[in-house]
Amino acid sequence: MAITVFTVLFVLAIVIGFMASGWKRSDLSKLSEWGLAGRRFGLVLSWFLMGGDLYTAYTFIAIPALVYGTGATGFFGIAFATIAFPLLFLIFPRLWQVAHRHGYVTASEYVRGRFGNRWLALAVGLTGILATMPYIALQLVGTQVVFGAIGYVGSGWLTYLPLIIAFAVLAIFSATSGLRASAFIAILKGVLIFLTVIVAIIVIPAQLGGFSAIFEKVPPQNVLLVWPTGENWGSFSAFSTLALGSAFALFLYPHAVTGLLSSASGRIIEQNAIVQPVFNIVLWFLAILGFAAVAAGVATDPAFSDGFKQYGPSFALLALMMKYFPDWFVGVAFAAIAIGALVPASVMAIGSANIITRDIWGEFVHAGTEESRQLRDTSIAKIFALLMVVAALVFVIAIPLQYVVQFQLLGGIWVVQTFPAVALSLFVRHWLTGWGLFIGWLVGLVTGTWMVASLGFTASVYPLHLFGITIPCYIAFASGLLNLVVALVLTPLFRNAEAGADETELADYAAPAE
């Protein structure tokens, strides 16, 4: 029963993906139509697209898993997701304006125009793509966990057959319909996710005897953050820097930039920043369900021992749902998660393809007339979108999960290094230079990578030792700060040489008078 409901919903999502090309029909051979849906998404579509894009299948599984395993610290995800929107509100309308004025399709293209430095732009673009690859792979992993739990099992390589089929199809509809596919599937995803989580939060805590009963069963040291001592700021500084660093990084990922640039105006982005947080309430519910999973004792339940053996804490949410939902609703819930992977995976592939086309292939490899470039641009982008999905499939099948997770960790640290070049540059005109930023980026990247490596690639929080106090600090935060300082310090060195490199004007960043 569950598997039938699941399959029907999943197939529906795919059909929507193919049909989406019909919305506001236009020339999908133009990159801005394929890759940004012609910059036409109003508030409702933007809300669904950004919601579906930012709250991924991996998020739905990983947040409860983190809370299940470590308790209160996992809620940094709620803090980060909530403060990210004021940041979005302040920063991104400006990027939208300047991108709209100059026809920029990617953040990297903007950087090239702003600083006249193709190497900095390449650095930004490559960073985005590298950070996205493991993120796509993790969506596939999330889907695979769901496929396995719902009953699509096989032995040997057959285990991966449903995944391969699902994502081959995703690659195809992403190539044909572009970003429209992502947006319309996001509507289905949004509806299913809200339905699932609202039912879950009503039904499951009630079954467990309410919140008092749930928290009684949680190990006491996990209920709150561990208070710091004089010598070690412990989980407090970890929580703060994780929240801040992740918030700054979130909108720098190509899939976030792509989603945002597809909006019809800067105003829409501002309005979305106000209403998007409804999704954060869903995230909070999911996090609480992590505790519910502990209280329900799913780890010791023999029905789920295989799942936990194979997937560890990632299985917690699925086990919880299987335990308390009627069979048919398990199909709905699991479909919500699996479809939850389709949207970000497609936007990630499209966003990366946009970058490769405009900032790598178009900039460094292909030369030619403007018209011939335009014609080739979108075909190239579609091929690269396909390739990104294929690469992610290969990743998931060939590389052990722990390495994919570590790569994702690194990706988050790398992507933060583009904040000064992409976001700060929207506000700061005379204190940032192209080469200063490039060197800052490099320093941040190397330092961040070194810090992760020194922890054996197992953790993202590094214990800094300052003035005799141990301060655990999110690596992205620490290395990002260093990056910024370096870039600022180097400004006087490069400022004169770069005068006049900026093709944008101050007026380009402001909204037109109303």
């Binding site: 909530t82 929107f85 709150l224 703060s240 947080p277």
Partner: protein
């Protein structure tokens, strides 16, 4: 660019979000654990830490709206 580019240049200097400073509040509220790392007061068995964070979601949305209004 068209005739209004010179007008646009002067308009760019005008602050369009006078109340944007309120947006620092959610940051302070949610990123400083000593403010909320407590069990009590709890609501229906839910420790303060958790319902505080939940409450700040609509509060942040409200403050963003405040900043949005011209």
């Amino acid at each position: 660019m068209s005739v209004d580019s010179s007008q646009a240049k002067t308009q760019a200097a005008k602050p369009s979000h006078r109340r944007a400073w309120v947006l620092i509040i959610p940051f302070i509220a949610m990123v400083i654990p000593p403010l909320f790392n407590y069990r009590e007061p709890s609501i229906a068995g839910l420790p303060f830490f958790y319902w505080y964070l939940l409450l700040w979601i609509p509060l942040t949305a409200f403050l963003t709206w405040v900043a949005y209004r011209r």
